[in-house]
Amino acid sequence: MRLKKITSLPPLSDRAWLSAPHPTLPLLATCSSNKTVQISSLRTFTPLSTIEGGHKRSIRSVAWKPNTGPQDNPESVLATGSFDATAGIWRRHEGQHEEHIHSHDHDDEYGRYGEEEEEEEEWRFAVVLDGHESEVKSVAWSAGGSFLATCSRDKSVWVWEEMDDDNFETIAVLQEHTQDVKCVKWHPEEELLASSSYDDTIRLYKEDVDDWACCAVLTGHTSTVWDIDFEKPKPSHGSAFSRLVSCSDDLTVRIWTRTSSSDSSSFINKPPSILRTNSIEEQWTETACLPAAHTRTIYSVSWCSSQPGRIVSCGGDGKLAVYEEFEVEAHEHGEKKKEWRIVAEVGGAHGVCEVNNVCWAKRWDKGKRFEGEDLVISTGDDGVVSFWELALE
């Protein structure tokens, strides 16, 4: 296989930190050191609008809220995390654009969609979430959109709940990490939160009666854990067999598998725990260390949602690497064994610059080769966002 560049967006004026694809629309949000978020079209690979004015310093992280607005009046909601120690909530109605998508034939639609977006700049900076003492490093919405998690160099992870319109309440301040918290991510189905840190650990949290608490500590990395991502559960397996991938300054990418959880039916035979504090505890075990692909800090890792067992990573060495899980014969017992291999690599993905973020996204453009195709989106220090397809050759 080969990673083939489809195209790139015009460079932003400063370092681009992260790009997030919209959960249902062909939109991409990219945040930058220039204190703005750029919204681009995944149909045409062109910039549509720029969100600015809400933050005083670099915007480090951006996340789309899932399941927003009723079907007949869709709304897009973005959360941003900034070095100015705040998080922001931005809103915008998508109603008109949906209409355009459905009422025009394809060629026309591309143009109209773009034009329409340029005309109306209606992103509204709705709320500032204050509370962190220093830079907010990452923001993430829970699967149902009811919770927002933020993390900061102040070593804490906060969980916010939207009580009613634009009213966010802090429902948990988790101070488990001993250092800067780099990343927060939610489980794709459960209300299970994960954070990774400069203290080399990953911690998982969930709600215990009415308090949020740490339910697992994942140790093994020997330096800062920069990014984490949950695997989308396979319907056949159920979420009990959840896996998490992590990448680190120690130049490794590791896979962690949940081996026991109190509320999962597969472990019903486990004797009930007497101590209430143990009732939410989960066991997570490191089950794989992916083949080494990087020579400098690995900044981002992403689990492909359409193709289980496929991961992409990027780092300070400017490289993108795609890994796949294969089933191989284990010689001694004739049993099947899983093994990860690098299936595609590209060096200098952003010229001589570092790649800060990589993710998979549904493909929407004209070049789509098959239903359910995913593309890779990389975001770099050169301010560029590039789109890549996985070519089978």
């Binding site: 310093r57 220093s134 830079e135 800062t224 400098r296 800090t297 300070g316 001589v352 050169d382």
Partner: protein, 204 residues
């Protein structure tokens, strides 16, 4: 003040470029260059602009024309170049430069400059704090990083580290200095940048 009485090197003893030889020769010609230099022998005065002119001019005007032009746009970066960029940074608490205080030393700089400009190159700077518990080691390291990030072409990846055995919390300082997110955030911190600007004022 952490160290009231640091060892100070004489400015004239600090390493500087001894010969002003143009380093723009394509790699294929470096052997010829060396040959010509050695034939002139030790009697040639290294600082004499005349002798270096005689050596390099015929070469560069003669054979360079059809060689790849790209390499000439960017000068090769070497250890002395890096030393010159950072040794003139002022210490945050002494009225002296990092070179004079021997915080920055030429033998502790490693440059791997890739001939191919489309590929990353690498600079490693190991600093020696004046005392092992210097609380300003991180600020000094950050000053060096910022100076090099501003001065060097973007192809360079920088690693600024405390020289082994010279600081009590070297691992912590190293981790912080090489965390790009922490460095980026520090560069948006006005009070810290004011300190760094003061340190960099003495740079040419």
């Amino acid at each position: 003040m952490d160290n009231e009485n640091p060892t100070i090197l004489n400015a004239s003893d600090l390493p500087s470029r001894k010969r002003q030889i143009k380093r723009r020769l394509p790699s294929g010609l470096s052997n010829v260059d060396m040959g010509l230099l050695s034939s002139i022998g030790p009697t040639a005065e290294p600082n004499d602009p005349f002798s270096t002119g005689n050596v390099s001019d015929p070469l560069s005007s003669g054979e360079d024309e059809d060689s790849d032009g790209d390499d000439f746009d960017v000068e090769q970066i070497d250890e002395q170049e890096i030393y010159d960029l950072i040794s003139t940074i002022s210490d945050p608490e002494h009225p002296l430069s990092l070179g004079e205080l021997a915080v920055v030393n030429l033998p502790h700089i490693k440059v791997t400059d890739n001939q191919d400009r489309s590929v990353m190159s690498h600079v490693l700077v190991e600093i020696t704090p004046t005392i092992t518990h210097c609380s300003l080691a991180t600020v000094i390291g950050l000053g060096i990083r910022v100076r090099l990030e501003q001065a060097l072409p973007p192809r360079f990846r920088l690693d600024v580290r405390i020289r082994e055995g010279t600081h009590s919390t070297a691992d912590q300082v190293n981790k912080q200095l090489n965390d790009k997110e922490r460095v980026a955030a520090a560069c948006e911190n006005e009070s810290l940048m004011a300190v760094l600007r003061k340190m960099l004022e003495t740079c040419k």
